[in-house]
Structure formats: structure tokens, C-alpha cells
Symmetry: D2
Amino acid sequence: MKLAVIHGSTRANGNTEYLTYRAVPKEKATHIYLRDYQIQPIIDERHEKNGFQDVYDDHTKVIDLMLEHDVLVFSTPIYWYSMSGAMKIFIDRWSQIMRDPDYTHFREELGKKKAYLVAVGGDNPHIKGLPLIQQFKYICDFYGMSFEGYVIGKASKPEDIRNDQKALQAASSLIKEY
Amino acid sequence: MKLAVIHGSTRANGNTEYLTYRAVPKEKATHIYLRDYQIQPIIDERHEKNGFQDVYDDHTKVIDLMLEHDVLVFSTPIYWYSMSGAMKIFIDRWSQIMRDPDYTHFREELGKKKAYLVAVGGDNPHIKGLPLIQQFKYICDFYGMSFEGYVIGKASKPEDIRNDQKALQAASSLIKEY
Amino acid sequence: MKLAVIHGSTRANGNTEYLTYRAVPKEKATHIYLRDYQIQPIIDERHEKNGFQDVYDDHTKVIDLMLEHDVLVFSTPIYWYSMSGAMKIFIDRWSQIMRDPDYTHFREELGKKKAYLVAVGGDNPHIKGLPLIQQFKYICDFYGMSFEGYVIGKASKPEDIRNDQKALQAASSLIKEY
Amino acid sequence: MKLAVIHGSTRANGNTEYLTYRAVPKEKATHIYLRDYQIQPIIDERHEKNGFQDVYDDHTKVIDLMLEHDVLVFSTPIYWYSMSGAMKIFIDRWSQIMRDPDYTHFREELGKKKAYLVAVGGDNPHIKGLPLIQQFKYICDFYGMSFEGYVIGKASKPEDIRNDQKALQAASSLIKEY
């Protein structure tokens, strides 16, 4: 089982990463930091005569890396009660990938993977983070990915997460695949 | 009452816009198309010593325009069971605005406004769009904005929305302020 | 197409019924009022050696009636942000029906039906009624019933619903089957 | 701090109780088993000229007991993606209590309490139990009760819950008040 963590934080070594490393230590997975890649927001050209125009950025680089792994851990701070913009931009572009002749296998490949979610927010995340959990479930369902579990942490200021003992404990037993 | 519509579609004259114009005809409001503005995703620098660095893009232009109105209609296609990346990027940056010395009144001003949501999706949006509704409610609650109503439409291919008579009808009676 | 409406109101001619008749006029369907039947809450005996003990009440009468129809409209006031106790008691007992040797076809039969929901609440039902919508979707999914649509109305005092023009309008175009 | 646990299970010593005792050992709280009390479903007579008629059952006995405590743990199996009928019947009747001249202090008293939820289901409860969490949050909000936390367990057959190590662990650190 090969694990990849896809980090949607824009801040290095923040609370979300801290909690995520508790779930997946650095050496146990490929850690992909979306902030290290240039990824453009999608422009919906599904219905253009010539379909999507090529976008010259790093999106397929991340997609390729992601597809090499069996278990995907999505890690995101909760911004305005959903995933970070960086994570959303990355996922929005999957609509383009699905129409890319080089990725006709994309949906089927994702359908073989297992997914986890780690999310950290400051404003009552155990309640106000639930729409994100539900949204993520729908994304998994679309691809036939198995949504294996999630951990929600509460933190706002730097290092806050160290006080969320319940989340740290839950994270440490989140992943079943190693 | 001054109305503004904030459009999160990346495609002009698509289904979401069509439904939105049924709720708010072009001449009845200021229509702001986020795709016409350059807006960078947020980089979380809340906890940096010097706070957020200035970002030279169009974000405050849209914010200023938005603040001049009393009723805000957010219009977004449903991408992956939430708002479009374009809309999310715009809203994520509100975290930066709140720490901007020029916008100390931002939260309070939003708290005086009324908000509506128009959302269109192709995959069972009346169920799978509900996390977006809930998320939007939490955003409104944060600012004390009054969430006055929403319409969900079902459409996938161009012009599909014209067949969603229920949504068109609901949109036409959505806004109470004119 | 034979329609049945299952009414979970405990009060006759209340707001929920008013809205429901707008969706399904009295003469267009079999109207089943749960308050007219004696139905006991379930006692979970799934794991007893002899399984469920017979319950001598009207539950199977309602079940039999329900199964004779193709389209089921569930109508319930929103009590404490979910269906009424009367409706919940009725549905809880389905767990017993599924283990009843006389109803081995129950799950499969329900899977052929179409379902609608009409719900009326007084406390921001368009937001706080959403968990009920989601719950109802899960129930339908369990049986493979097709959840065709829902209407949410806002009313608290008697006759309030007459002022909810949007809900009345939406109800009048809810059912596609006649 | 006085703790009470309100058990909505209809089966003694089932999975939900097992998990709940991990959160609140028997000797640390008053354990109230709703199945030991006769409680009638509400009949909505809010709008009758003379209001609610007296109901001669055990409801106020449980209410009185509940009100003597500071922390309330609601424990329920997940039946059809929400609380058990027994629990729903109990809570539905709160609408009657609020209009009872002997309980004019009811809402205010509840507003001083802290609440927890323990819920156990068999069908993907970490996703399909979320509407129940949200519903429970709305109930707490109505009264101004502080919703302090919840644990969801997965179990179907007797003793299944013993295998849900994550839930058992989470339950053991759920309650902050002792």
C-alpha cells in the first residue's frame, strides 16, 4: 500500500500539518504540498467546441503523483466552513482531467483508491466542519473511492492543535493501511 | 435597497447565470462577475510577525463594490458539491480583509446586509447541494448577515436549466427586496 | 400510478396537511393519517433467540395499504428538527417488518416506489429542516426508493402556511406522476 | 457537577449502552432508561383553546430527574439515521412541557446545562449519523444548552461495539466534567 498525503494548507508547519503528521508520519508517505505547485482555477470549457484548452501549470504533475498511490489522505484547514481554496482549485480541475485524452483512466483509477480526510478549524469544527465531511463523501462516491475515515481537529492560533488531545489521539489511529 | 449579484461562474451565460437573471434581472442590480477580476488565493499569514503582505490584485475592488450594496446575491455553479473555486478564492480572502486596517468595518458592515444564494448543479443538487447551503449559512452567521433564501437548480449541459421549471419559478420569487 | 400520502401530523387540518393537499389533493390519492392508527414503538428484538415478538397493533394495516401504491408522499411537521414522533415510530417498525416472514418482499417492494417529502416547521425550516431531508434520503437509499423531491414550508401558528406563497407554489408542482 | 445519562435504547446492555458506559461509568452518573418509563407521543394541542390536555404518564418524572443534573448525556442507537423513537417521543413532549404552568422555568433551566451525545449505528454511522448530530445541535441551540461533544460508534450485531476501538477510546475521553 502506497500512501500519499495531499496538503491543502497555505502555511507550512501549521496546525493542520501537525495533526496530519500524527496520522501519517513524514516517512510513511509521499507528502504533496499543493502550495509548492502552480495550479490554475478551472475555466469551465466543457461545452466549448474544442473542449478545454491546455493549461500550462503543474496540475498534471500532482495528478500523476497522486495516481501512483493507493491511499490518499486529504489534509486541509477549514476555511469558511469548507476546504481551503488551494485544495478546491486542485479538485475543481479534476473536471478537466476527466476530459483529457491522456487521463481516460482517471475516474476508474481513483475508484480503486482509499481516501481519508484530516481537517482543522477554529470555529466549532465538530459541527461546522460537517458539511465538508459530507461534501468529501460525495466526491468519493462520484469516483467510487472508499472514504475510510476522517479526523477533525480544533485549532486557531499556531500550536493550538497540541491541546486537542482527542484529535491527536484519533489521528494516531486513523489510517488502517500500515 | 441596492442589490449586487456576485457571480462565481467561470463560463459566461451558462445555466447558473440564466437562473440568476430570473431571480435578479440585469437591470435590477449591479452584477459582478468574479471571472472579470484577478483575485489571488489567500496565503494564510495571520500569524506572521507582520501579518498579511499586501496583495496587488483586484480583491479590494470587488470588496468595495460589494460593500456599497444592501442585498447580496451569491450565484455559483456547484463544482464538486460546493461553490466554484472562483467564489471560494474570493471568500477565503475575506480573512485577510478582516485584518486589513482599511477594512476594520468589514465584519460589521456585512452584518447589516441580506444574502441570497443561487446554486446550480448537475448531480442531484437538491440533496448533494445541501452541504453548500449549510456552509453558506455558517458564513452568514459568522458575519451576522441575514440569509434570506436560496434556490437550487438542476442543469448540466448548456441550456439545461430552461427545463427546470420549478427552479425558474422559485427564482422568480426569491428576492423580497424589490 | 397509485399515490398514497402518509400523514405524520398529530393535529388534523394543520399547516402541514394544508401544504400537502396543495401537492396532492384529497381525491388524487389515498390519504393515510398515522394518528388514526395504533402503532407501538419498536422494541429491538432483532437479536433475541426467537426474534421479534408479535405486536398486536395496526402497523401491518398501514404497511399493507402503503405497499399497494406506487408513489409515497411522506408528510410531516418538523418536530425538534426531524420528523414527528408518530412518523418516526411508524418507520422504526420497518426494521421489524423486514424480519417478518410475511414481509420478505418488503425491501424489494419499497425499492420499486417513488417517494416525496412534505415538511413544515416554524424555526428556519429551510436550513434547520435539512438534516431531515438528508435523513430521508438515506432511508430511501437503503430501500432503493427513488427520492423524487421535497417541499419545505414555514409555519408555526394555525393557518400560517397560507402566507408561505413560495411553498404553496412549489407544492403545487411537486408531484410529477399525475 | 451532577451527570445524568438518558438512554434511548430499547434493548438492555446493547452496543449503545456499552459505548455509553465507557463514556460515563455506571457509578458516575444517574442513568435514566427511557424504556423503563411510560411516555406517550405528543399530540399537538398547542393551538387548542384550552391548550394541552394533561397526560397521565411518566414524562414529568423523567423531566424532573433530568432537571436535577448539570450535565446531560443523551445516548441513542441510530434508527433510520436519527435517534430512536423512544428518544424522539421523549423530546417531542418537551413542546408540551414548555407550555406547562409548572415548568415555566424549563427552557431557561436547560439553557444552563451541558449536553453530550453518544450514538451507535450499523450503516456507515460516521457519515449517515451526521444529520442526527446536526439535529441535536439545533435542539441544544434552541434551549441555549452547550453541546459539548459527541461520539459515534459503529455496531450492528450484539457486542460489535467491542471491536470499534476508536469509538471506545473516544468515548473514554468524551466527558470533561469529572
